[in-house]
Every structure is written in structure tokens, then in C-alpha cells.
Amino acid sequence: MAVTPASIAQPVRRKAKLWDRIYPYLSVTIPFLVIALFTIYPVLYAVRISFYQYILTKPKAHPFVGLKNFVEVVTSYYFRTSLTNTAIYALAAVVGVTLFGLVVGMLLNSKVRMANVLKVIILLPWAIPAVVAGLMWKWILNSDFGILSGILYSLGLIKQYIPFLADPTLAKISLVMAHIWKEGPLAAIFILAGLQLIPDELYEAARIDGGTGWRIFRMVTLPLLRPILLIVVVYETLTAILVFDLIYVLTGGGPGDSTSLISWFAYAEIFRNLNLGHGVALAIIIALITLVLILIYLRVIRIEETVS
């Protein structure tokens, strides 16, 4: 049989076809395996743990307890307290971050000198790790040598240094303040991006129609910013509900349980009470709460889009 170029080309083409068929599956399989290993498996394993008694000091006894962990967690005093604390914190943090972002975003959008440099500088707090930010605030708020008390004292506004983190109300406010400082810059950059998408012609038209600052903001800027604001609100709500590192460094949940948020409660259940079953059940509850909130927000966004 004579060897022709066509007969050589046939197996090569077949090989290439086979590879072309396998390649997409292979490329999907590898990431899938990684995701399965690092996300799907841990989540399923966590769900499994939540149905068992899993006390870390009893490593050999894990009886099946059904929904007992969930019932015990939900009916506990700490769940109610931490849920209330989380709701207050999240509300204050989201409102604070959004307002901060709006004000700073608008300032950066106006023709401020060195706006480009400011845009970079303003992001710095967001880029700082939360633990470092927490430590900085701990020093700022220190009752013996904190700079905040120092400034207030030198201005004659207070007679003695204030132990911000030792008073239940002040500790809550301090946490929110640190959160806004940390998260506000990202919101500002989001909002700035949104502001830059609004055509100047709309402002011009509004001004020709006799619009003034506040009216233009209310009738032009705010409606057009709404999609961005919704994204900011969604993201910041999740961040506020899941905040842990700031609490860990700043207050440790105290004084009393005044800054014990739900994520801190989950940590305390696992590492302080050594009850992994309770901790995981709580983590699943937190995940469900955030999921419900996301679904609500997504629905709102969809309604907004339909209306616009």
C-alpha cells in the first residue's frame, strides 16, 4: 500500500479532533475539582457537622442530634443579643458607609485640585488589613493615651480621657466608626465611578430648567446613582453582618456582650465554648440570613431595572 500524505494526515486529524473534544471537559474539570475540594466539600461537611454533637473536648463522641444544635443556638440568650447587636451595627454601618461614600465620591467628582492623588490616598484605609486597622483604632481610642481623647481634651471639650471601648454604647459607636473608616473609601470609589457615568448634558439641562444644587442632586444625581448605590448597600450589608476581625481586635465582644455580633458569637461557640456543632449551625444560620438579604436586594435591583 502506498503511503500518501492524506493517509498520514488522517490519524493526526483524528487525534486533534479527540483532543478538541476532551480539552473543554478537561479545562472545566480541573477548576471544578479545585472548587469541589475547597468549597463544595467543606460546605457539605459543615452541613453534616451541624447535625451532630461536636464538642471539641470529646473528640471520640459525635452522636447524631438532628436539629438540636440549631434549636439550642436559636433559643439561646446570646443569639437574640447578638442578632440585635448585628442588626443595629449593620444598619449604622451601611448608612454610614453609604453617606461617607456619597459625600467623598461627590467631592472627588467635583473639580478639586489633586483629585487623582486623592483618589489613590482615599483608598488606603480600605487596602489596610482589618486587623491592622483595628489595632490603629485601638490606639486612637485608648483611654490613657488615645489621640482622640487627647484632641478632645486639648480643645477643652472633655475633662478627662474617655474610655471609648469600655462603655457599651461608646464601644458600639467606636466599632461603627472604625468600620466606616475602613469600608467607606471603597464605597466612595464605586460612587465616583457611578457619578462619572452621568452625562454632563443632564446637569446642564437641569440648570437651564432652573434647578439648584439640592434639587439637581435629588432629581438627577440620585436616581441615576441608584444602581450603584444598591450594589454598595448589598456589599456593605454583607460586610457588616460578617465583620469579625475588627471586633476581635477592638473589643473582643465586650464590654459585657455589647459588641458581640453574630459572627463573633459563632467564633466564641467554636473556640471559646469548644462546641463545633453549635458554631457550625450558627454559621449556616448566618449564611441563610445573608442569602435571604441578597435575594431581597436582587429583587429590588430587578424591580429598579424594570421601572427604569
Binding site: A166, T251, G254, P255, G256, F271, R272, L274
Partner: protein
């Protein structure tokens, strides 16, 4: 196609590298990390063990390890430290993840929790010298290292919670004598505040993350209670929640001094380091802290009030206090690794917490250089120790307080979890968010709940 082949080649190379690296890893771990100065004897197997501590005196620890390694050139001990505030949670994470070190620091308030979970190994079953050392220990310290009749630790240091006052500032307010009761402390604090000597006469390191917080609170309860069972009866049922108990009196006293501005509110977020520094700065007059801080506050270079800090017997009816012990411990990992590793761990323990050439050299070093207390009774007669302690404290008072010290009651597997719960509850009582009796009821309920879980 060329690109795909390149991708494939890279994948193969990467897999080979991973295989080579993972194949090498165990061999690398078996190699001693740092060869000792002297030549190794040919027959001795090189052993490397990890030693985890909280961050205190790390240079001294490193130097002690260096000296030990010089003595046993085939042994290498790799030291790692974590903040005291995070130590418990970090170690629990390591234990549950199966990443225990061979050797570590332990504390009496975690012993039942850790030993009950099987995270620690009894020393007296593996290290023959431990029994001999135990007979020379102060009873409260031995009790604090014993779980279900087995000894799990060799004392690194043992100390008492002491009531400390600034003599100069107290004299400024016209008092020549230290307070003897909690009423005295209250009255003196009132005078100190009224005369403007200090804003807040009393400070405590009662941040919820501070491990010495419950010990300080308990020392107040012990001092106000006569006899044993201040917290629990012999069957471990709470008695502290009874009307008029010492715990109730202490909580009510704390609420009173907080309300009247005598107790620094920052105490609720203060850690021990900050407590010591504010005492040194003369911002407060009274406090309770572990005795080892006395060497630090009274050292001549520590500031204006150096030498003015005095220990008084814990005010109250009985003047009792809490004695606690921190110790060296081993984990089951050592036993799993084999008898040579157990032998190495025992050598380590002998050197660090036991005797070398008939002397407690490392324990004595901590006492003389750092002022750490000790449980090894023969050291109370050591001239160097007496001289060193005399520089910062009144040795007879220290001794008297040590004899009145008692270990913590209720050291069970659930003590750690309860202790953390109790911290937040005590805060709420001080802040006036709930009454003293409600606080004690909550603490008792939690105790019973945890006890039922077993």
C-alpha cells in the same frame, strides 16, 4: 496546538515538582534544624521537637534551649510563640487540626479541657523523674497540674494573684497602712479621688480576652470567704449564687466602686501589660495582678514610682487568694513518634522544669531574672532567690500570701468554656446591666448546663 502542548508540558513539570517536593518534605522535617555547637555522638539519633509557648521572655527561652542543645547535641527544639491573649484559641485550633507540637506551655485552667480531650499526655507515665519533682511542689501547684490522678505538667512557674498598692500615693491621701478589708479599699479610694490624688484609684486588667481576669475576680471572692468551697460544693454544684455569698458581695462592691467613679471603667478593656504601665505611671493606686509583675514595676528604671509598689495581703475576711500554675506539657504526638522522642521530651522537661545537677536551674533563672514565682518549695530557701525577691517585694508578705493561696475551684473539662462565659456576665454586673444575683444565677445556670453535657 503548540500552545496546548506547552500547557501540557507545564502541567507535567508542575506535577513532577509537586511530587518531588512532597517526597522530600518528610526527609527535610527529620533533619535537625540547627546543628548544635559540639560534635554529635555517632550513636545518637537526631531528634527535632516543636515547643510552643506564649510570648513571654522569648530571649530567655531561646537561651535556655541553646544551653539544653549544647548538653544534648543530637536534640533540636524548635520554639514558636503566640500572644498570651490568643494562645488558648490557637492551641485548640492546632489540636483539633491534628497539628499539635510535641512540647508546649499549659495552664491549670485549661488542663481538664485539654487532658480530658486527650490533647495532653500524662507526664508521670513517661518521664520517670516527674514523681520526684512532684513531692517538692506547693500543693496548689501540684493540684493545678493533676487531672484524674495523673500529673500532666512540670511547673514553669507558679504564682499568686496579689493585691498591690502604690505606697507614695496612698500616703499622699493620709494613709500609712495598707487596706485590710474591701471596705478599707473603698474608703481609701474615695479619699484618694476626693483629694484629687488620682482620677480612678482602682484598675484591673479585665478585658474579656485577659486570662488573668477570672483569677483576679476569684481571688477577691476567696479573700471574702472563709474556708473552702467558695464557688462550688464537693459535688461541683455552684454555691456562689446563694444570697449573701462572697461572690455576691464582691460583685456588689465592684458595682459600687464603678458607679462612684473609683474603678477605672477602662479596666473592662485593659490587658495586663496596659494595667502594669498605668500603675507605673501613677494613674492608679490599687490593683490585683500576678506577683511576677512586681519585679517589673519596682525596677529602678521603671519610672517615678519605682520601689513604691507594695504587696498587701488580699483584703477581706480570710486574706486568701488564688494560686495558679503554668507548666510544661507534652502531647500524644511525642508518644506516637516513638520512645526516642519521649526520651528527648523528658530530657527537655528535666532541664526546663526539673533539676540539672541537683538544681532547678531554669526555674531559678526565671525567678531571679524575671521575678516569676515558683512552686518548687526548696527554692524558697535559696539565697539568690531570697536576695532577688527582696529587691522588689517584702519576702515575709509574699510567703504569707503564698501560704494562703488556693487553687481554682471547679477545674473541670468545662471550666474553660464557663470561665469565658463568666467574664461577660461579670462585665454586665459591673456596668449595671443586670443585678449581682442575676449575674450569679446566669453563671450557675451555665455551669449546670455545661456540667450536664459532661
Amino acid at each position: 496546538m503548540k500552545h496546548r502542548l506547552t500547557f501540557f508540558n507545564l502541567l507535567v513539570v508542575a506535577l513532577m515538582l509537586v511530587a518531588i517536593a512532597s517526597g522530600c518534605a518528610p526527609k527535610a522535617a527529620e533533619t535537625p534544624a540547627a546543628p548544635a555547637a559540639t560534635e554529635k555522638p555517632a550513636e545518637a539519633k537526631a531528634i527535632t521537637e516543636n515547643f510552643v509557648t506564649w510570648s513571654y521572655g522569648v530571649e530567655t527561652i531561646a537561651d535556655n534551649i541553646k544551653k539544653l542543645q549544647e548538653k544534648y547535641p543530637n536534640l533540636t527544639f524548635v520554639h514558636k510563640d503566640y500572644s498570651w491573649l490568643d494562645y488558648h484559641d490557637t492551641m485548640v485550633g492546632a489540636f483539633t487540626a491534628g497539628n499539635s507540637p510535641e512540647l508546649l506551655y499549659g495552664s491549670d485552667h485549661w488542663l481538664s479541657e485539654w487532658a480530658g480531650a486527650g490533647w495532653l499526655e500524662p507526664l508521670d507515665e513517661h518521664c520517670p523523674n516527674v514523681k520526684g519533682y512532684s513531692s517538692e511542689l506547693a500543693p496548689y501547684a501540684l493540684e493545678g497540674m493533676t487531672y484524674e490522678g495523673k500529673v500532666y505538667g512540670l511547673s514553669y512557674y507558679a504564682d499568686t494573684m496579689d493585691f498591690v498598692y502604690n505606697e507614695t500615693l496612698l500616703k499622699k491621701a493620709g494613709f500609712d497602712k495598707a487596706p485590710e478589708t474591701w471596705d478599707d479599699v473603698y474608703n481609701m479610694s474615695k479619699a484618694l479621688k476626693e483629694q484629687g490624688v488620682v482620677d480612678y484609684p482602682i484598675i484591673m486588667a479585665w478585658s474579656q480576652k485577659e486570662g488573668a481576669f477570672p483569677e483576679a475576680f476569684l481571688s477577691m471572692v476567696y479573700s471574702q470567704h472563709e474556708g473552702g468551697n467558695a464557688m462550688f460544693d464537693k459535688d461541683l454544684n455552684p454555691v456562689f449564687n446563694q444570697e449573701g455569698s462572697a461572690a455576691a458581695q464582691v460583685l456588689e462592691w465592684l458595682r459600687k466602686v464603678y458607679e462612684e467613679g473609683l474603678f477605672d471603667p477602662a479596666s473592662l478593656t485593659t490587658a495586663e501589660i496596659d494595667q502594669v504601665k498605668s500603675m507605673q505611671a501613677g494613674q492608679h493606686v490599687f490593683t490585683i495582678y500576678p506577683q511576677y509583675n512586681m519585679a517589673e514595676v519596682n525596677k529602678p528604671e521603671s519610672g517615678e514610682y519605682a520601689g513604691q509598689f507594695k504587696i498587701a495581703l488580699m483584703p477581706g475576711k480570710s486574706h486568701a487568694t488564688v494560686g495558679y500554675v503554668r507548666f510544661y506539657a507534652i502531647t500524644p504526638k511525642v508518644v506516637e513518634e516513638g520512645p526516642e522522642y519521649v526520651d528527648a521530651a523528658c530530657k527537655f522537661l528535666d532541664y526546663m522544669g526539673g533539676k540539672t545537677d541537683g538544681q532547678y536551674i531554669v526555674v531559678k533563672r526565671w525567678a531571679v531574672e524575671n521575678g516569676l514565682g515558683f512552686a518548687q518549695l526548696p527554692l524558697f530557701d535559696d539565697k539568690d532567690v531570697i536576695d532577688a525577691f527582696g529587691k522588689w517585694g517584702d519576702v515575709p508578705t509574699i510567703k504569707q500570701q503564698a501560704t494562703l493561696a488556693r487553687s481554682k475551684e471547679g477545674l473541670t473539662t468545662w471550666y474553660g468554656a464557663w470561665d469565658v462565659f463568666a467574664r461577660a456576665e461579670i462585665h454586665k454586673a459591673i456596668l449595671g446591666e443586670q443585678s449581682a444575683m442575676d449575674t450569679l444565677k446566669n453563671m450557675a445556670d451555665k455551669w449546670n448546663e455545661l456540667k450536664a453535657q459532661g
